[in-house]
Symmetry: C2
Subunit: 290 residues, 2 copies
């Protein structure tokens, strides 16, 4: 029994601005990433699957991660990503990197090829280059719509991408990647590379968050779902609802996707929409925005 | 009823190498930081007190934070720090900064003067300068003994400083600051600036960790103490012991200091020593290394 969920961020375009054509493009991109992850999950493990799904989302200019990332106040891109392997509690992350095409793969390299969990900035880029990851020029990440958003001072659009999976061996994994949000300060690191905040996996649950990263950090929200399940004995859905209440209490908006050891999936959010898709343990597909 | 605990890191010099004169120097420096924090705590709040104590520890060349920080493989210093206010769950942090004299004050500025929680690298330094914090040249952080440690490939010495306090209003706070460890990769960020990993405070408990940062991150250890108290109803000492077992299970060594809402203090560690000091709720002073 396998299960996979992905998200393309809780910062979905407002419903009143979403045209049918735009909705179709977003759903097609979600479907592509979902199938990319599921294809890996069918043959392999949850860690490979969440990375494959997140790479597909990073490569799409529609989502705020990798290509298509938001701009900071310097009109630059700084990207954050992390991955966690539920079976071993190994984790890797990169923060505030500007030249790595697929930050989630750099995060995985940190996990597998260093003694560290988190590398930031230029040091992370040197590490990525040394381990054969593809570096790209600034122009790779550029999109006119994101630059226009910055120049119109549309501060606060935050998107993130992520994936959680349970594989046939019962192992869980989570991966999360983001460009932060439009108009963030240079050097700002959100919750996506912070284990326990925007990303967490053990073999009881795997969580990827999206939304106001500062609130996810202060509430240690991804780990809080796991802690409530473990210590209070709550089922996934109840623990996730509690985390959403805590997020709201911290004046945060956003959402999360999570999977438990039985392959149950939840995808709650308190924002207007959240790009999301899943294939549940019975093979049923969901793709939705609002 | 007020209480304050501080630590100067779990990477204490091995007992067999510690001379009486060196032990006296460490204890004097701990006493100085303890009194600096306590003086503030008597008149003011826990947040000011933990910052005052950590500034004193950062300013001492004996501890691996601020002046006296470890060198990375580039023979540079990169510093991490964070602060959290238990009453409001506000938090601030800086990571991989090289020029800020007192990283804990920069962390506090991020908390109080930005919309962000964590700023890294040059962006954090720009923010610090813009907010009037003192920047210093590389040479300020330099110590011959730490450089010799790097050149002798004494990888793995990790120290950290931190403070936790309960003030007369029942508000808790935690602050943590570090130079990481000798021979870390450039850009490596440890647990000290990660809310939930090496530093956490709500008004039920405040925690500052020290030790193998990667294990603290993977175990979300500082928040785990709080989660066990809240969800399992465990007293502080029991929750802290469980966190230490989890640390050991992750092949991590180190320790933590913590205070609860009643002013109870615990300072467990599984390393050979941990520089530590406290003034408990009855006014009793402790200063110890092993």
């Amino acid at each position: 029994m396998i299960a996979l969920a992905i998200h393309g961020g809780a910062g979905a375009m407002p419903r009143r601005k979403m045209t049918p054509a735009a909705a179709a493009r977003y759903k097609a991109a979600l479907a592509h990433a979902l199938e990319a992850g599921y294809e890996v999950l069918r043959r392999g493990n949850s860690l490979d699957a969440v990375c494959a799904a997140v790479v597909a989302l990073e490569d799409s200019p529609l989502f705020n991660a990798g290509r298509g990332a938001c701009y900071n106040t310097d009109e630059k891109h700084e990207l954050d990503a992390s991955v966690m392997d539920g079976a071993t509690l190994r984790a890797g992350a990169v923060a505030a990197v500007s030249r790595i095409r697929n930050p989630v793969l750099a995060a995985r390299a940190v996990m597998e090829k260093s003694r560290h969990v988190l590398l930031a900035g230029r040091g992370a880029e040197r590490f990525a280059r040394a381990h054969g990851l593809e570096l790209v020029p600034d122009s790779y990440f550029a999109t006119q719509s994101r630059l226009a958003a910055l120049r119109k001072k549309l501060v606060g659009h935050h998107g993130t991408v992520g994936a959680v999976a349970r594989d046939a061996n019962g192992n869980l994994a989570a991966a999360t990647s983001t460009g932060g949000y439009t108009g963030k300060l240079p050097g700002r690191v959100g919750d996506s590379p912070i284990i326990g905040a925007g990303n967490y996996a053990d073999n009881a649950c795997a969580v990827s968050g999206t939304g106001l990263g500062e609130a996810f950090i202060r509430g240690v929200l991804a780990y809080d779902v796991a802690a409530r399940m473990r210590y209070l004995g709550e089922p996934l859905a109840k623990a996730a609802r509690a985390a959403m209440r805590k997020l709201a209490g911290l004046q945060g908006d956003g959402g999360l996707i999570a999977v438990d050891h039985r392959g149950n999936i939840v995808m709650p959010f308190n924002s207007e929409g959240m790009y999301r898709a899943a294939i549940d343990r019975k093979g049923r597909r969901t793709i939705a925005i609002y």
